[in-house]
């Protein structure tokens, strides 16, 4: 009974507040504009911060925080005296693989990858895929998921079968209108010619949200075609030929990558240091890179936190300015409506009724502003992605936080004007012009 009375009272006060706000449409809109901009800024900033980090974090998680990735790189031409040999030999070798497997503790497995060719053909369509020989264990080492079909299996490796698992983009480009499983695509490479491979599996799309996670792996898994390493050995050997701008280039790079999986997270850093030492001994030139996703993850997460705090503060300041705008207008409103306050007090309004009335008006301004701000902020984030092509991500909590902040600002900056109104002496308020 009493609660229904309170609810009805609150409801009518809200209606009254809406009416007063509606009576001053332009002024109310301008007042709410501060909050609208503030909330929109909070949402845009947070979504940019999230989006920028998310792609990188997702790829790092995909590569596995327990993994260390060794990658071959072409060494820089060290000196002019060094005559360019007809064969460029660089990168990770079988000897490296053996030594890692034999000497480094806490290593669960080492999975080698070798790039053997750069062109896949199906029917009349050709696509510059990267054909990679690898062991079936790769599919348990990094968090790849199979969209359809099956991964490479030990039996493929044992029999050196001509089968392959293709990335999502390869599927989309070569098999746009049919199911690739069971079809045969052709891999083309200089010297080796056209070699058929049967598609046995398709990988799920790996989301990189437009920004490849540089420094972790330049490998775009969506454009890879994985074949058994034994088949790669058998068909292509270690030599690699590339025709580039008319001149032939021949290189020998046994493994383009070695994926080293470590047993426990805390062993990742020590193992990476041991790998550095081991490789430094075996290589006269720096023709490899040691990449530690875990380190990158920590750096990326720290960067993300820092970015969120910075962006959040900037957005928070604009919300603060919006709140000051509300306070300013509410103070003006209280002065303007002093007479009304006097009348209401004379007719029986208690101080708290007056406080409530003006607080509700401030809250309506801030919550309506907050709602519009959420809408414009969301739209703004989409526009940023569409226009500037920055990835943005809006989490539910981003919206909750910004809406909550708008309400908090409304209460905080509404309290003082409302209390000022309630403190007015009824007689003096009635005498006010």
């Amino acid at each position: 009974m009493l609660t229904t009375m309170y609810i009805s009272h609150a409801f009518e006060t809200t209606r009254l507040g809406l009416k007063n706000i509606y009576l001053h449409k332009l002024r109310s809109f301008l007042t709410a504009l501060g909050i609208i901009c503030g909330v929109a800024a909070v949402i845009c900033m947070l979504s940019i911060g999230e989006g920028a980090s998310e792609a990188e974090l997702a790829l790092i998680r995909l590569l596995g925080t327990n993994n260390i990735i060794l990658t071959s790189t072409k060494p820089e031409e060290t000196s002019a005296t060094e005559v360019r040999s007809w064969l460029l030999e660089y990168g990770l070798t079988r000897a490296d693989l053996q030594r890692i497997r034999g000497t480094i503790p806490n290593v669960v497995r080492v999975v080698p990858l070798r790039e053997v060719a750069y062109e896949a053909i199906y029917g009349t369509t050709q696509f510059p895929a990267t054909i990679v020989g690898t062991e079936p264990a790769l599919f348990n080492t990094i968090n790849l998921t199979i969209a359809s079909g099956r991964p490479l299996l030990p039996v493929d490796q044992a029999q050196a079968s001509q089968v392959c698992v293709i990335g999502d983009e390869v599927r989309a480009r070569l098999f746009a209108y049919e199911d690739p499983i069971g079809r045969t695509l052709i891999v083309n490479a200089p010297r080796s010619g056209y070699v058929p491979f049967k598609v046995v599996g398709v990988l799920s799309r790996v989301e990189t949200a437009g920004t490849p996670a540089k420094g972790v792996s330049e490998r775009n898994l969506n454009t890879d075609v994985f074949i058994p390493l034994s088949t790669a050995d058998h068909r292509y050997g270690d030599l690699k030929f590339k025709v580039r701008s008319g001149s032939r280039e021949m290189s020998k790079c046994t493994f383009s990558d070695l994926y080293v999986q470590v047993d426990e997270l805390e062993n990742v850093i020590p193992v990476s240091q041991m790998l550095q030492q081991l490789l430094a001994h075996g290589h006269s030139k720096k023709d490899y890179l040691v990449k530690v996703p875990l380190e990158r993850l920590k750096i990326a997460e720290a960067q993300k936190r820092q970015r969120q705090i910075t962006l959040g503060c900037i957005a928070g300041i604009s919300l603060l300015v919006g709140g000051i705008g509300i306070m300013n207008i509410m103070l003006a409103t209280v002065t303007e409506r002093t007479r009304e306050i006097g009348i209401r007090r004379a007719l029986g309004a208690k101080r708290r009724d007056i406080t409530f009335q003006f607080l509700v008006e401030a809250l309506i301004l801030s919550s309506v502003g907050g709602a519009i701000g959420v809408a414009t902020g969301t739209a703004g984030a989409f526009l940023i992605t569409w226009w500037v092509e920055w990835p943005t991500i809006i989490h539910a909590w981003t919206i909750l936080i910004s809406a909550g902040l708008a309400l908090a600002v409304g209460i905080f900056f509404g309290i003082y004007p409302a209390a000022t109104a309630a403190r007015l002496d009824p007689i003096e308020a009635l005498r006010h012009a």
Partner: protein
């Protein structure tokens, strides 16, 4: 409901019978400013008065004599510096702000010189304000407001805003608003002060009608012909009662 006491006024036989005392002032004083300092203004200097049910009283006096001050105290808008004020059965001179607000919404009706309607509310909404602060449900408020607006003959203007009404019409709305909570006392501070003579007469006619129904009305005025229409005339000078006479 304690306020229902005057809903059906008893028949008033001729002659002076002892009637129920509604309000009693006992050596009431009001001093503005800091007492004892140079800015101290003794506006009321010990007022003792009794108001009975059904009285129609004019409070007269020169400007600055303390009429408004007295009416504000009677209206529980202010607290006396000294003395006692008994309204109905309660000593209101020592009540806190919330309790005074309660009394204003339940037991008192105000009519002001400058009408004091809330500009953004319609006629009906203005009339409902005292009931709103009593917590009366909207439907009941609306019914009561509609039944009272007919009394002042403005039923065709219920959805208009005050600015769209003439001064006399606004004051009639204000009177209807003052009646909506069946008050013990209707307090009017120069209700005809902003109106021309003819319109003022019409307002006084409404007051006279209310008086006939048994309502208790206290009205501040400095016009003798207005005071002449009241049954009892109290005259103040320098914060003191210098005469208190019954007309007719």
């Amino acid at each position: 409901m304690k306020t229902a006491s005057i809903q059906s006024p008893p028949p008033r036989p001729p002659g002076h019978q002892p009637r129920k005392v509604l309000a009693r002032l006992d050596r009431l004083t009001k001093t503005y400013g800091v007492p004892g300092s140079a800015v101290e203004v003794p506006a009321l200097k010990g007022i003792s008065l009794t108001f009975e049910e059904g009285e129609y009283v004019a409070i007269c006096g020169h400007s600055g004599s303390g009429k408004s001050t007295l009416l504000n105290l009677l209206g529980c808008l202010d607290r006396p510096t000294g003395g006692r004020y008994i309204l109905g059965d309660a000593d209101v001179s020592r009540l806190d702000d919330d309790a005074l607000s309660d009394i204003r919404s339940k037991r008192l009706g105000f009519v002001f010189q400058s009408f004091n309607l809330i500009p953004q509310l319609t006629v009906l909404e203005n009339m409902e304000v005292p009931l709103f602060y009593q917590g009366v449900p909207p439907r009941l408020r609306r019914e009561k407001a509609i039944s009272l607006i007919e009394r002042v003959g403005l039923q065709h203007r219920i959805h208009h805003r005050p600015m769209e009404l003439s001064g006399g019409q606004q004051q009639r709305v204000a009177i209807a608003r003052a009646l909506i909570n069946d008050p013990l006392l209707i307090l009017a501070d120069e209700p005809t002060g902003n109106l021309d003579t003819a319109t003022g007469d019409m307002i006084l006619d409404i007051f006279a009608g209310l008086h006939k129904e048994g309502k208790t009305i206290l009205m501040v005025t400095h016009e003798d012909d207005v005071a002449a229409r009241c049954r009892r005339v109290i005259t103040l000078r320098d914060g003191q009662v210098i005469s208190d006479v019954q007309n007719d």
